[in-house]
Amino acid sequence: MAIEAEENRRDFLILATSVVGLGGVAGAAWPFIRSWSPSADVLAQATTEVDISALQEGQMITVPWQGKPVFVLKRTAEQIASAREGDKVKLPDPNPPSKDAERVKRPEYLVVLAVCSHLGCVPQPIGTGDFGGFLCPCHGSHYDTSGRIRQGPAPANLTVPDYDFKDDGNTLVIGKAVG
């Protein structure tokens, strides 16, 4: 009886020590793991300001934001109409924002991340895809004039980043300050 109690006590101590030890190792590993996450200077590049006063109808510019390209397109009436037309069909990615009205703050400006949702390539400029929009050259994904995936392997629409207009719509601010 005494020996059994001794053994139980020993088992408990070994278990408790192991748990505390593993907890310590996990805790010590955390700083190493966390050191791989974006550093403060990378996070500081959270917003980009773009002067869009000179942008003509039908003209598109590519601006860098967080090291990634963003398409800023001043859409023509036809491109807007084509995007609204796309609202009526069954889309491969119906998750919001998928209606054209949800994807733009002003109908004439389309602001989307130029990163293909398939494997991160940069799609080609407006007018290269089958739906009047963007074609990703890597694996043949076609996006329409609202940046929605219409055909090809990409699983999702082009991301609409946080953005806002200021100075009476002459300046576009992409992103949100963080930290």
């Binding site: 791989w36 996450s37 974006p38 550093s39 990378v42 590519t62 860098p64 967080q66 090291g67 990634k68 390209p69 491969p92 990615d93 990163v115 398939h118 494997l119 991160g120 390539c121 940069v122 799609p123 050259p137 890597c138 694996h139 043949g140 090809g152 392997p153 990409a154 699983p155 999702a156």
Partner: protein, 404 residues
């Protein structure tokens, strides 16, 4: 003098015993053919890669602003820098040539079958580690293909449900491939070969525990069927190294850029994707498998990644898929035919992977993606087919010889 020194050492650490039992007098089947050279050749290339890589690292700068120029500095200014870099870049190609032949040799002669499963597992793990090392090494020159290859491959991680997106940011150290990514890839590319070297030691430990398979795939009788490794196989392996060097160095000196992409001599530009991103040739079959799964809607991406990983991971269970009582395909006519279809299929997949995703044949009549899907199906069918013909005993093996 030497003898007495060795006696002193052996009394403290039995070095001579180890060399005798595991190298010079290590019993090796006497009927090994030239396909058995590729294991030692792969080890030879690993050593070449470690040596050239170490000296390249002394001149290379893992910084997004300096990396591309430092590689050009190696090519133009560093004494023999061009030679070190071309040996290293082409070494990667020939490493995979050796490793692929080594794997296929194992598959053909049944070297993965009992009792060599653990030996085989270490091999598959080494293969995975090599692919990771090669991928990260290709990022270091920081050209357009480096950059966009890295973007495409790291993006595969985002296919993982729930945590994928955050995991990509963590791996990249930012919101896109950038300086933090390059820096950590350099460190890992430096570290991994040493890990691989450790795995190779485990691979050889496992080999020496169960001994080599042979072209007949039958168990050997030590003494009657075996030869001491030295001098019989040391000389044969050295001969193989000689032939290998002729081919390898022919590329290094006369066609050093044959396997490299011209686009990688354009500095990385995060704002512009090359028209056609193509991985290094040794990844092409798996790249083709990834791209050929495009018919599952929003599941396509995840399914493609799973299929690509599965194409290699299936090798782990190969020893149990093959249920035949006979190891070597020499005595298994049906399996042999399946094997050669499989090898041919790998070339077809490679060719599909090399071409743009929307390419077609016969003026658009036959989209390449159809060939890609078919070849992917054939790839996995090999493993299922091998299992079926052996478990249902469809294949009648030829009689085995009594001994080698």
């Amino acid at each position: 003098m030497f003898k007495s020194i060795m006696e002193w050492v052996d009394a403290r650490l039995p070095v001579s015993d180890l060399i005798k039992s595991q190298a010079t007098e290590y019993p090796t089947p006497k009927n090994l053919n030239y396909w058995w050279n590729f294991g030692s050749l792969a080890l030879f290339v690993l050593i070449v890669m470690l040596a050239t890589g170490l000296f390249l690292a002394m001149h290379y700068k893992p910084d997004a602003n300096l990396a591309f120029d430092s590689v050009e500095h190696i090519m133009r200014d560093v004494n023999f820098g061009w030679l070190l870099r071309y040996l290293h870049a082409n070494g990667a190609t020939f490493f995979f040539v050796c490793v692929y032949i080594h794997i296929l040799r194992g598959m053909y002669y049944g070297s993965h079958r009992s009792p060599r499963e653990i030996l085989w597992w270490f091999g598959v793990i080494i293969f995975f580690a090599l692919m990771g090392t090669a991928f990260m090494g290709y990022v270091l020159p920081w050209g357009q293909m480096s950059y966009w290859g890295a973007a495409v491959i790291t993006n595969l991680v985002s296919a993982i449900p729930v945590v994928g997106e955050e995991l990509v940011v963590w791996i990249l150290g930012g919101f896109s491939v950038g300086d933090p990514t390059l820096n950590r890839f350099f460190v890992l590319h430096f570290l991994f070969p040493f890990v691989v070297f450790g795995l190779v030691i485990l691979h050889m430990w496992a080999l020496h525990a169960v001994h080599s398979n042979n072209p007949d795939g039958i168990d050997v009788h030590e003494g009657k069927d075996t030869l001491p490794f030295h001098p019989y196989y040391t000389i044969k392996d050295l001969y193989g190294v000689g032939v290998f060097l002729m081919v390898y160095l022919a590329f290094v000196f006369f066609a050093p850029n044959f396997f490299l992409e011209p686009d990688n001599y354009i500095p990385a530009d995060p704002m512009k994707t090359p028209a056609h991103i193509v991985p290094e040739w040794y990844f092409l079959p798996f790249y083709a498998i990834l791209r050929s799964i495009d018919f599952l809607g929003s599941f396509s991406k995840l399914a493609g990644v799973v299929a690509m990983g599965g194409a290699i991971a299936i090798l782990f269970i190969l020893p149990w898929l093959d249920r035949s009582p006979v190891r070597s395909f020499r005595y298994r006519p049906l399996s042999r035919q399946l094997f050669w279809v499989f090898v041919l299929d790998c070339f077809v997949l490679g060719w599909v992977g090399y071409n743009p995703a929307d390419a077609t044949l016969f003026d658009g009549a036959l989209p390449l993606i159809v060939i890609g899907r078919t070849a992917t199906a054939v790839y996995f069918s090999y493993f299922v087919g091998l299992w079926l013909v052996t478990v249902l005993k469809i294949e009648k093996p030829k009689p085995l010889p009594k001994s080698i």
